[in-house]
């Protein structure tokens, strides 16, 4: 018989012994599979969370449908509205729109405001507010519609109203529920509890559009009205400006040109803005990397311990096999084959359970932080999880089997 059929015969026998060993203790095998599945889940969910955070940021900016972002610093999506460092923003927006390579530019302001259907200051709730010129199709209203600011309200060179112009507001559905408001109701809005009763707005729509972007339950109102409520109409403050680049213009080149023209500002294309937002949070990045690293290391350590235990539990049986003449390689093979089966089953269970658990976590994330689909395990993440289960499982089982074969001596058959 040649070497190849010899090897095949042994391999078949090794698999047979391994499967028999696994079937002998179905409870132990199930627990081992579960442990590997948990290790895989730890990796896929945490890696999926990392991917989801980046994707959420990118989508937030992409859904804003703006090519260029202008701010004094990288735009902070968590900003509560206390920082609106840009002044004279409508003038700047008009300057930008006058350029041939820019089709449209608009400022956006973020403030914290107090809202409520009852003017009693004690009943008002604090919420982040976004000031924009108009709503658009992306708002996908659950009820009602959006608002549009009259063009004259932004006419350059004209004195601007110190009072709200449209008195219209769009609420996040959870805000609407919280303050018990629906379309057509009156809502009091102010940057303090004392000023809110002075500004009565009409709820015109319900949408969570900016909530998804900012990660909190947000109200949206016309920029001029928000500036009026905040008392910044005179200085025309905003958090940032966004601009749309002409179809035939190079977005990067326009951004570079604007950066030169406005040295006091940070000018970034939308993809750089995402990088800046993330890069501006070394703690977040470090924490995310640490979590993923811990998940991988934890998964590996768990797998190592698991297979060391599996091998140790079979030490007497392995010693008996060694005594009747089976080689260390063959013994290692039987443990490794168990590793393959456990790793494959655990990996598959982990991978199959990932979408289910990701969905559950996303529901929790959506309810507490307004982020939809925060955990997004990509195909790469699934491959990573399965690879850890299989490759690490097999390698560790092979080493554990080899060591068990070495230490499974006749001593383990005595006493």
């Amino acid at each position: 018989m040649s070497a190849l059929p010899f090897a095949f015969v042994r391999m078949r026998a090794v698999v047979g012994i391994a499967v028999a060993q696994l079937r002998r203790s179905p409870g132990r095998t199930a627990l081992a599979v579960l442990a590997v599945a948990l290790a895989v889940l730890a990796v896929t969910l945490l890696a999926g969370l990392g991917a989801g955070v980046v994707a959420t940021g990118e989508e937030g900016l992409e859904s804003a449908d703006q090519d260029i972002w202008i701010s004094s610093d990288p735009v902070d999506p968590d900003a509560s509205g206390t920082e609106n460092p840009l002044v004279g923003t409508h003038g700047t927006a008009a300057e930008l729109t006058d350029r041939e390579d820019v089709t449209y530019a608009t400022p956006i302001a973020l403030y914290d405001v107090y809202v409520g259907t009852d003017p009693d200051p004690e009943t008002l709730e604090r919420r982040p507010a976004v000031g924009v010129q108009e709503t658009h199709d992306g708002f996908d209203f659950e009820a009602g519609g959006g608002f549009e600011t009259p063009d004259e309200a932004y006419e350059p060179g004209q004195p601007r109203s110190q009072e709200p112009v449209t008195d219209e507001i769009v609420l996040d559905p959870r805000v609407a529920e919280s303050v018990d408001a629906e379309v057509g109701d009156t809502l009091y809005v102010g940057t303090s509890r004392q000023t809110a009763p002075e500004y009565a707005f009409t709820v015109v729509g319900v949408s969570d559009y900016y909530s998804q972007f900012l990660g909190s339950e947000t109200v949206t109102l016309p920029l001029v009205d928000l500036q009026a409520v905040a008392g910044t109409t005179g200085t025309d403050r905003a958090t940032f400006l966004t601009a749309d680049v002409a179809d035939d213009a190079d977005r990067e080149a326009v951004a570079a040109d604007l950066d030169e023209s406005y040295p006091e500002y940070d000018v970034r294309p939308s993809d750089e803005q995402v990088g800046a937002m993330i890069g501006d949070r070394p703690l977040v990045v470090a924490s995310g990397a640490t979590l993923v690293g811990l998940a991988v290391v934890g998964g590996v350590v768990l797998t190592v311990n698991l297979f060391a235990l599996v091998a140790a539990q079979q030490r007497a049986e392995l010693a008996a096999l060694r005594a009747v003449g089976l080689s260390r390689g063959l013994l290692a093979g039987t443990v490794a084959a168990q590793g393959v089966v456990i790793g494959l089953l655990g990996g598959l269970v982990g991978v199959l359970a990932t979408p289910l658990l990701a969905s559950g976590l996303n529901r929790v994330a959506a309810s507490v932080a307004s982020f939809d689909r925060l955990v997004r395990p990509s195909s790469d993440v699934y491959v990573l999880g399965l690879a850890i289960a299989l490759v690490v499982g097999v390698l560790v089982a092979l080493v554990a089997g080899w060591r068990a074969g070495r230490y499974a001596t006749i001593d383990h058959l005595e006493g």
């Binding site: 018989m1 059929p5 010899f6 090897a7 015969v9 042994r10 078949r12 026998a13 090794v14 047979g16 012994i17 028999a20 060993q21 079937r23 002998r24 007497a316 049986e317 010693a319 008996a320 096999l321 060694r322 005594a323 009747v324 003449g325 089976l326 080689s327 063959l330 001596t409 006749i410 058959l413 005595e414």
Partner: protein
């Protein structure tokens, strides 16, 4: 009488020939091994199949990775010389700790004694690597343990066939051989049973069948009746002695029980690792 010679045919034997070429090919020892084995390994010529010459062995108790500061050793064998011929059944008698098991382990190549020479079919095991000793054990030595040590997840037939796995014998041939052996030990109606479904005596019969799977030249049995009642023990001993005498195999049986050793052609008493007398 049950025929336990059960000589393997060419088709069931991984290395069909016996004698010098067999040992030589297994150890790769070349001319030297051939010279050693010639004149010694024929199980029919009455010469020693197993020979121990001035064997001493010490177990270390302080040599682990975590040293205690002083290494202590225990002398298990001291200047033991012994020979067992083909077809001969030799009993090793002595109390616990007298060195019986150590002799069996040395003969099976499970340990390398610290001093002396252990010849198995004319091949000195003491200068062989662990891998070579394993190979020699696989093809020439059958082991029967007191506690059977069957794989609980495998059927009786699969347990018997296990030693043949390493030799690359095909599945159907392994099953055929195992069935033949189980029938020979009277377990033809227990072939597919798991060890947990067998009595102690039946388990030991399976273990004996497993020991015979590779058609060994030597069988070592360590307290083979220690877990069995008198009647069952007697039938197991009969199987062992038949396997030795009918198959012209050297059989070493270690026990502290006189009744067990009564079946032996010769009994070698041991005390404190020494041979008390040449045998009786």
């Amino acid at each position: 009488m049950i025929d336990l010679s059960l000589r393997r045919t060419a088709s069931t034997s991984a290395s069909a020939s016996t004698g010098p070429s067999r040992a030589e090919s297994e150890t790769g020892a070349g001319t030297e091994a051939r010279t050693e084995t010639e004149g010694n390994t024929n199980r029919h010529d009455g010469t020693a199949a197993v020979r121990l010459e001035s064997v001493s062995h010490e177990y270390g108790t302080g040599g682990g990775r975590l040293r205690s500061g002083r290494d202590r050793t225990v002398t298990a064998l001291e200047d033991v010389s012994l020979a067992v011929g083909a077809g001969e059944v030799v009993g090793l008698k002595g109390p616990s700790g007298s060195g019986k098991s150590t002799i069996l382990h040395a003969v099976a190549g499970l340990l390398a004694p610290t001093e002396g020479r252990v010849d198995l079919l004319g091949t000195d095991l003491t200068d062989r690597s662990e891998r070579e000793r394993t190979r020699l054990r696989r093809n020439h030595v059958g082991i029967v343990f007191q506690r059977f040590h069957l794989l609980p997840s495998l059927s009786a037939r699969a347990n018997v066939a296990l030693p043949l796995v390493q030799t690359g014998v095909g599945r159907s041939t392994r099953r055929e051989r195992a069935t033949e052996l189980l029938e020979a030990v009277g377990l033809d109606d227990r072939i597919t049973h798991l060890p947990s479904e067998l009595s102690g005596g039946e388990c030991q019969r399976v273990a004996i069948a497993r020991a015979l799977a590779t058609d060994p030249d030597v069988i070592v049995a360590d307290e083979p009746t220690g877990e069995l009642d008198t009647t069952t023990g007697a039938s197991v001993l009969e199987l062992l002695t038949d396997a030795g005498r009918d198959g012209n195999r050297a059989v070493l049986v270690a026990s502290h029980d006189d009744a067990t050793l009564a079946v032996a052609d010769r009994v070698v008493p041991l005390r404190d690792g020494r041979v008390v007398s040449d045998g009786y």
